[in-house]
Symmetry: C2
Subunit: 146 residues, 2 copies
DNA sequence: ATAGTTGCAAAAGCTTTGCAGTATG
DNA sequence: CATACTGCAAAGCTTTTGCAACTAT
């Protein structure tokens, strides 16, 4: 069973549990995100759907993205001030992001230390963590050369 | 010499070096941020200035905030989707933030591990770091009790 | 004197909302 | 068939921009 099929199955189940309707738009958007891959914003996604002659509205794109974030199929990323991107999350291991402020490129990286930090926070500050966001900004290798 | 005086001195120097004018509005905004303390957004700051009968415009508040971030006197924080807050940074040691998604409260915490992560990124990924943002979201002690 | 800055209001950009029509369960 | 969901366009919010007036140097 491929990742996309697992995602669709999970979405179907969640929609059922929540008493929400299984509309074709919702599945089309999920499929598009998983097929495209990478990081994309709401407008990108909307245009991609339009270009393929899907009849979807911006409102539905925004609503569905929010829903997909809620059921953990998509992660919402916030970089800098007004850059919001989304990425598929099923089958992805935990990672954080490096953002090049010159060329805008986004790289992923992993460091288990963040897990230790989170454990420390839960234990000593008595804070119940739902999620985190670690972004490191600077210049990527290519931009440093120039 | 108090923190605020150091901040003013630093700002004066930076403005001089950059050939920018030392306008009363710029210093008034800097003073307001350091006097108020805590986390505040652009609109808060604008209203505070207005209430004290300062004659400043929103544009100047935004421009000056950006300038203060550039000269490292103020840090810009981005929480969730559309929450941008600013905090004074002179005399503050490095820290990150815990954001309660129920009551909106923002707590600060320190963990030296983030420095190790940054060193690792610089060394092994060849990425030149300028700054980072680590936000942990969840429920604070008070909200967990309810 | 002369640019850099400011205030004001309009514009821009992204996201949400209202409403009438549509289609899921 | 009832009503959750959709498309469309208008409205909302925060931030930016354009321009005439002002002022630091």
């Amino acid at each position: 069973m491929s990742i996309i099929d697992k995602a669709i199955a999970h979405f179907t189940e969640e929609l059922g549990e929540r008493g929400l309707r299984k509309t074709p738009e919702r599945f089309a958007i999920l499929r598009e995100i998983y097929n495209l891959g990478g990081h994309l914003d709401a407008e990108d996604l909307f245009m991609h759907m339009k270009n393929q002659n899907y009849r979807v509205s911006r409102a539905t794109v925004y609503n569905t993205l929010e829903l997909l974030v809620e059921v953990d199929l998509v992660k919402k990323l916030q970089f800098g001030n007004n850059i919001t991107l989304f990425e598929k999350s099923l089958g992805y291991k935990q990672h954080d992001h490096l953002i090049c402020t010159k060329c805008g490129r986004v790289q992923e990286f992993c460091d288990p230390r963040i897990q230790q930090t989170k454990s420390m926070v839960e234990e000593f500050i008595d804070f119940e963590i739902t999620h985190h966001s670690l972004n490191i900004y600077g210049f990527c290798r290519e931009c440093r050369k120039k």
